[in-house]
Symmetry: C2
Subunit: 230 residues, 2 copies
DNA sequence: GATAAACTGTGTATAAATAACACAATCTGT
DNA sequence: ACAGATTGTGTTATTTATACACAGTTTATC
């Protein structure tokens, strides 16, 4: 018998904190769903599922996200593994939490609705089951750290976006207002954005220029020792 | 049958990257052990063990650390959960990795030796089994981030230490030399240290004043919105 | 057709943090 | 007494962060 067989085995869930940004409401949102099974049926929870024997944990996280949103190729990062004895009543289940950043409009909104899922502003989250509230709190903190030091904000916006939109996103993530002159200067000084010859005219009379993030520029800069910071 | 019973279960290991600082050699070290069982018998690995049914993951990590070092009340933090399919040959085992910071001299060196464990400088690590090398790499990165923004360096030094010692530690963590005037000024400006009326005379003729970290000061400052940074 | 309203976009001055740098002080072993 | 090794101190220049006010553009409205 192999050396490890004598030890106990565990159910392993994968739960995802799925962040999206609502450009109109300028709000950071989380995708939550109402559980349609016991325990805690009818209560709000994160999207989750169980790890399978033939898949890596990352793979499981992607599978579960795809089930709910129809999306692949999404920014996802492992957050933390929750393993308290009493985290789920009446069962010993470990949960590996991931957080994901998606563009709300790119997701399959019908599919989302089918699962009974809803985009909820983080500022007005309902109570969540088990330790899911703690998971969201931890995810938000990590998102704040990541947003400051890596160009991941773009994952939450459409491919072309305006600088006021990007600033609104950062304000939502940090939950504080930023000076637009300083924000713009610092951002543009990094040479990560390409200005397009097109204006966004929905949200202002004057219109704001569209920009596009250039991953290639970012790679080049990284190789030269550049450190992103916003 | 409960809803989760239909899903597969997994062996869950807990592996720890145990950092220590060698004041004499001014080196950051990791505690490694030679496996005395299959697979990979005789090769170097991290300290690890299996999660038990009746314990939280954090508890398991502490238990395993205690087994090897005799220490409790140690700075430990969950690092990452490794769950690739092929991370361990011929077995599907998840590993929740932790990293720990300990004062080498406070540990039970006999106990460590009994387990066949050795303190190895991170600059000259041997090849480790499985994905343990990747674990150490990730732990080192996290340690560098933590050391910059939280006063955890003190976890690696005796209760009383000199400023040159502390600087040596930071130089070992960041793997670069620091300016002693700037280091000292910034450090002391935080008001986290209490100067003792005693000098360390081993490493210099002149002798260096001992200091002590004051956790209470740190708490107070935190409450006033203070941000540690070194 | 003037103007009010709402948002975009720009420049400058001040304060704070960081980085660079050189020499005197102390002690002990020879 | 002096050589050697390490601790300890101050100033200046550079960079980065913060604070702040007004003009430009368009359209709906009177």
């Amino acid at each position: 018998m192999p050396y490890y067989q004598e030890h106990e085995k565990f159910h392993v869930a994968v739960d995802s904190i799925i962040f999206g940004y609502d450009e109109d409401g300028r709000e950071l949102k989380v995708l939550l769903l109402k559980r349609n099974f016991q325990p805690a049926k009818g209560e709000w929870s994160l999207m989750g599922g169980f790890l399978k024997n033939n898949e890596a944990i990352d793979t499981a996280a992607k599978r579960i996200l795809h089930q709910l949103t129809g999306l692949s190729d999404v920014y996802m990062e492992q957050l933390y593994t929750f393993g308290e004895l009493d985290r789920e009543p009446g069962a010993r289940i470990l949960s590996v939490a991931y957080f994901a950043l998606i563009k709300i409009n790119a997701s399959d909104l019908e599919l989302v609705k089918t699962h009974g899922a809803t985009w909820v502003p983080i500022s007005s989250m309902p109570r969540l089951i088990f330790d899911h509230t703690a998971m969201v709190g931890r995810a938000l903190k990590k998102l704040q750290v990541r947003a400051r030091t890596q160009p991941i904000g773009f994952e939450l916006l459409p491919d072309k976006f305006t600088i006021p939109q990007l600033q609104g996103l950062y304000e939502a993530i940090y939950n504080k207002t930023l000076d637009k002159r300083n924000f713009r200067r610092k951002l543009l000084s990094m040479n990560l954005l390409e200005k397009l010859e097109e204006k966004e005219k929905e949200s202002s009379r004057k219109g704001a220029w569209y920009y596009r993030f250039e991953p290639k520029n970012y790679e080049d800069l990284l190789n030269r020792g550049f450190n992103f910071e916003l």
